[in-house]
Amino acid sequence: MRLPELRRVLQTIVLASLPAAGCLGTNADDCLERTAQRTLVIDLPTDGPTELKVESCRVDVDACLDLCRAAMRRAMLSEAPGGCDVTFQAGHVNVDVTYTYYNGDGCVVAGRRPAGLQALRGGGGDRAADWLARAAWLEAASVHSFVQLARELEQAGAPRTLVAWAMSSANDELRHATMVTRLALRYGATPQVPEIAPVSGRSLEALALENAVEGCVRETWGALLALWQSRTALDPDVRRVFAQIARDELRHAALAWAVDRWLAPQLTGEALDRVAAARHVAMEDLTRSHEAIPALGLPDLNAARALLGRAQSLVWRGASS
């Protein structure tokens, strides 16, 4: 599937899967919604970044969102403010926030993983922060994925455009890693640096298998998820970052399909069957876990199923048939 068509299809899937009402992630089967209210006090004078936000909020109500988010970060609250009331008083500022948090388990982190990627250690902190740390770790790992892909494509005599496209994608992933790392740090998590074990020369079939799983399925899912997050995340910073990521991930997914098209004529019929089977297994794997985190726009189980179902019928099955 080429880029313009892939972009159109994925945008259609997201639009079709968005709920009619604005409220998301309330399915009792998979997440427990709680609303909390806190009064956060900022004593004055304060540090430079906070002072800038306090004084900007003082003169423009539209600037107060930054202050509310900063106040929540200072209080180690990773959720996005659902409502916020700022009151300036002598010597301090009161920030009354309401926010929604969810309970749930599992993990959906999308994107291309390089061969040789070593398992992530630790975790167990705040869910949104943990998810962002894992996402940043995976974005950084994806840099290696695309460098590796470019090298293998070059060695296999692929068209120069495919090689450069892969390198360009690696550059995108570096930018994504930086952006998501900043978000993770803001939420209080420090992403790990990925460790990649060396990978020796692989066959064209091995390359096709990895491309089918990591690219055609996971990159496509990553693009779809990022598109969804860019529209539904409660945190506007997350929406902004994932809007940028979605744009790039669409290209990465299209690259995977372009690599798939280039490799296919060079593989035997049996090898093509194995590639198709691997793609199917990868699709199924995506449905086995999920995590609803509304601050980050991560869908609840119903929405995730809707997205996956439409992607399976409109992208993956169509491509494999």
């Binding site: 080429r2 880029l3 313009p4 009402a21 604005g22 998301l24 540090d47 430079g48 970044p49 002072e51 800038l52 004084e55 900007s56 909020c57 003082r58 003169v59 423009d60 109500v61 539209d62 600037a63 107060c64 969102l65 996005a80 659902g82 409502g83 916020c84 009331d85 700022v86 009151t87 300036f88 002598a90 840099v143 460098v147 068209p159 120069r160 455009t161 495919l162 450069a164 496209w165 390198m167 360009s168 690696a170 550059n171 570096l174 930086t178 900043r182 539904t232 995340a233 409660l234 506007p236 929406r239 902004r240 809007a243 940028q244 744009r247 290209r251 299209a254 690259l255 280039w262 726009g297």
Partner: protein
């Protein structure tokens, strides 16, 4: 005073709602600040003081760096002076270019005994020559002026070209840069231009992700533009920090400005050495609006601030490392920038002890970084209230395409570039100076009804920017409208007057479209240049070449000779060369 602000969030949407007891004004505050120019921070040679030009507040501030850094002096300037570059001479005097004040200000580091000397209309770059103890001042209005450092009027004024930016002393010669074109002039001791060269154009991989693969990989020219800052190198010559614009076609669809590996613009550095062609070297900065750089006293480290991404990049000064296309070669910028969360940084300077100072005008404050890895950071709050303008902030903020508004409209003007649009053809960047709100509808073809529409179609969709807040939408236009048109040049008043008579004559018909105080009706006309286009204002027209919608006229004269629509665009073919000179003199004076 106590007051309260409130809003509610419904689902993923932010909605301004009612407030409680005391409410703020529903409208954002009045416009604040000027377009970012960068490079307004100086650390004195003895390492004792940092002197800050604050162009947004028209003042100078001095911070003593010994011990715990503290503010020791503040000097209020005249409203609208817009202090910019600073340079220190051998006697410890500090000279400041007043960008809109049209003057050279000389003070001591504690800001005592200020002396103001009349200069040009648009002072920009400064350099001090130790051999002759003079201060050179480069002007955007075109003059290169020489002042005795100790005081007194200019001893020499050489008229070069408009849009001069920085000046660097290199042996007996001066290196002078031009802002929009990043052109490099070498000026001999007698004031003549010894050479004039463009910064190198380099090749960048061009990848159309929607097209079938091509082999070999096509490439496009990446042209040097917008020379934000040029500083001297210890061994002679200079280092120029600038942008490059990639000559690949832009699209009007969503994400249309973000094609290719890095979008249509990138950060760049060019080394200028005496007697040899300038060399493009590898840039380690990777953010929008690279407005200032500083070379450490030992010459081993470089710092770059990118105002659009609000970042500070520091890396080894590998000035012999040639430029390369990171996208094509798979070698990526490895520098992780510092971010201080204090708004857009505009200036950077090294201290004598290897620390780094970064100026943030909005707080206002300096961040002092120390230690071998510069991770220990202290904020030095400068006096005065926070500067806030959400329109100004939006104008300078990087988007998903890697561009900020100010990338193509540096300092609120234009980058002098002609962009190719897949659907529209060639379009020259329009200057935003001299008032924009009255010009609606916008763009050459007038297809953008108003500023909100333009922000949605261009900023949000093509540039992949965030949807502006209510405050940003309300603030941008009034803030832009404060940017004045470039200064007029009147070299020969009599010629200007003769030109005015021609301009106003019914035989030429100029005023039928270019009438009124802005010299434009802002209506669309087909004047034989390829279709109906908006009539541009003529205010500051000589400062924004190339001219016409497609940039076909490199100079004002070209507009009347090589392109411009002929007599369908004002009846000028019967003018003599002398009359044309007069008409051009008038246009330069607007």
């Amino acid at each position: 005073m106590t007051y309260s602000m409130r809003w509610m969030i419904a689902g993923p949407l932010l909605v301004a709602a009612c407030s409680t007891s005391e409410q703020p004004s529903p409208n954002p505050p009045p416009p604040w600040g000027v377009p970012i120019s960068g490079g307004t921070l100086l650390v004195t040679q003895d390492g004792r003081y940092a002197v800050v030009s604050d162009p947004d507040r028209d003042r100078l501030v001095t911070v003593e760096l010994a011990g715990v850094p503290r503010v020791v002096a503040e000097l209020e300037l005249q409203e609208g002076d817009e202090p910019g570059r600073l340079i220190e001479d051998g006697a410890g005097r500090v000279h400041v270019a007043l960008r809109r004040g049209g003057a050279l200000l000389t003070v001591d580091p504690l800001l005592a005994a200020p002396v103001r000397r009349a200069a040009c209309a648009e002072p920009r770059g400064l350099a001090w020559a130790s051999a002759t103890d003079v201060v050179y001042l480069a002007c955007a209005s075109g003059e290169l002026m020489t002042f005795p450092a100790a005081g007194g009027d200019a001893t020499r004024v050489v008229r070069l070209d408009r849009d001069l930016r920085d000046v660097v002393v290199s042996g007996d010669e001066l290196i002078v840069t031009r802002f929009r074109s990043a052109e490099i002039l070498t000026v001999a001791a007698d004031g003549t231009v010894a050479s004039r060269v463009a910064a190198p154009t380099v090749q960048r991989a061009a990848i159309d992700f929607g097209a079938p693969p091509e082999d070999p990989l096509p490439s496009v020219d990446a042209v040097a533009t917008v020379a934000w800052r040029t500083v001297p190198l210890p061994t002679g010559g200079a280092l120029m920090l600038h942008q490059r614009h990639l000559r690949s076609a832009l699209g009007t669809e969503s994400g249309g400005y973000g094609k290719g590996c890095r979008g249509p613009a990138e950060d760049a550095m060019t080394v200028i050495r005496p007697g040899v062609a300038p060399v493009a070297v590898r840039s380690f900065a990777n953010g929008a609006l690279p407005v200032d750089l500083a070379l450490s006293p030992e010459g081993d480290r470089l710092a770059v601030v990118t105002a659009g991404t609000r970042e500070v990049y520091v890396d080894a000064a590998a000035l012999d490392e040639p430029d390369r296309d990171d996208c094509d070669r798979g070698v990526f910028p490895r520098v992780v920038p510092f971010t201080d969360d204090l708004g857009a940084p505009t200036s950077v300077a090294w201290t004598a002890t290897g620390g780094l100072l970064v100026y943030y005008p909005e707080l206002p404050g300096l961040v002092f970084r120390s230690g071998t890895d510069l991770t220990a950071a202290t904020t030095i709050k400068l006096p005065g209230p926070v500067g806030y303008d959400s329109g100004r902030a939006l104008f300078h903020r990087a988007t998903g395409s890697g561009l900020a508004c100010a990338t193509c409209h540096p300092e609120g003007r234009d980058d002098g570039q002609v962009w190719e649009f897949a659907e529209l053809g060639l379009r020259r960047t329009q200057s935003l100076a001299g008032g924009v709100e009255a010009r609606a509808p916008f763009h050459w073809s007038g297809d953008m009804e108003d500023l909100p529409m333009l922000m949605q179609r261009v900023f949000v969709e093509r540039m992949s920017g965030p949807t502006p807040t209510r405050s940003e939408g309300l603030s941008l236009g009034p803030w832009l409208d404060r940017i004045p048109a470039p200064a007029a040049i009147v070299a020969d008043a009599a010629a200007v007057e003769r030109g005015r008579q021609l301009f106003n004559s019914s035989a030429l018909g100029c005023v039928s479209c270019h009438g009124g105080p802005a010299y434009s009706s802002y209506q669309r006309f087909d004047v034989g240049t390829g279709g109906p286009f908006k009539t541009p204002s003529l205010l500051g027209v000589s400062a924004r070449t190339p001219l016409m919608h497609d940039g076909c006229a490199a100079t004002l004269r070209d507009r009347f000779t090589t392109c411009g629509g002929g007599d369908a665009h004002g009846v000028t073919s019967m003018l003599s060369d002398a009359q044309l000179d007069d008409l051009i003199a008038l246009l330069e004076s607007l």
